[in-house]
Symmetry: C2
Subunit: 238 residues, 2 copies
Amino acid sequence: VEGAVLLGEAVAGGAPVEAVYVADPEALEAVTAIAPGAEVRVVRAEDLARIGSTVHPQPVVAVVRLPTHHLESLARPTLVVVAAGVADPGNLGTIVRSAEAAGADAVVTTPGTVDAWSPKVVRASAGAVFHLPVVVDADPAAIAALDLTRLAAVAHGGRDHDLVDLTGPVALVLGNEAHGLDGGHGAVAVDDVVTIRHTGRAESLNVAMAATVLLFEAARQRRRGADAAGTAPISTRR
Amino acid sequence: VEGAVLLGEAVAGGAPVEAVYVADPEALEAVTAIAPGAEVRVVRAEDLARIGSTVHPQPVVAVVRLPTHHLESLARPTLVVVAAGVADPGNLGTIVRSAEAAGADAVVTTPGTVDAWSPKVVRASAGAVFHLPVVVDADPAAIAALDLTRLAAVAHGGRDHDLVDLTGPVALVLGNEAHGLDGGHGAVAVDDVVTIRHTGRAESLNVAMAATVLLFEAARQRRRGADAAGTAPISTRR
């Protein structure tokens, strides 16, 4: 975890801090206030720069124990995002951030998806990875066994996303940036496909934006009741 | 413009290409196919790296004449995004991209907003800056003179975004990441304020995500008709 802000989010989310490294002795007090009880070591700035992944390294780098979540520990989820082959860490981070903001129960990744714990994902999530369960490398068969209607987001040909009833227990399944769900990643079986109608060029809507739109449409429908799904709601519940 | 893909978007959007620089003579043919008629020069890789702004420089850097748009040249716009103080180039780029995808008529920036033509914005927009009018450094008074209901997105206290009728001519006004619309940037007068209800931490929804959600809610309502604004539509038309 790089930077004092993300370290604070890790602590707020309950992730155990194993060690903190700072380059500036004057940062000791501030870091101790953020992560009370953590072991803080002062190291040379060039060593910190070598550890850090950012171009302009943050003056604080921390080692945090990964929260571990499993599908079985999700208690009756009603809104889950499945990232099945998402490759770009910025996209996965944004998806996790939107999932938290929209009130989703969890984000689940399949094998072949970018590592949710890579520094770039953690950073792009603005710390959201510490605030909702992220289940990594989940077995697609186990995802299928959850009592959720699995809706895949596809660029073309799916049902209009706002005409689909998203108030029941649903998993929103998002595929690879280039290959969608056909890239051999994950192979999550889905119940139906949805498309966000958009104008402009074919590639004008990326996977993180699509996830954000779908998540907040689900949140909107849940606030307004099942009849808020467009003018002709279609039940997707099993 | 850095990279063959963005160069292609600039050409597709009609922006005149003044010069193209490549490091690899073998790229000449490919670049000429993308930008027919443009002057292409082969330069040393280290010089190209010095010109480029990315950490891993693209093998193609092009000089493109900026499209110039003015408020007066917008023909009866019905959906406009006003970026009034947005500071992060990635956020502004995403906002432009979402605006294009949602079918907005234009993006307008006020003085104090990050330069829409900085390489990072162009890149984050995935070339969308070349596909819809971007009006830069617009006078807030001139924005107020447009026949648009100006709705500011605020983190708290506004009307639920999906209960506001977005089918009329509206401008969605987005402020600075840290200071909202109170940072002295732009000072765009607004008619009303809207808030996207979200869970999680206070800062879990950033300005680019908020813009995306608002733009696609506007697109949704426009597809479904004015009665698609929640269960109790409130007219914001003047």
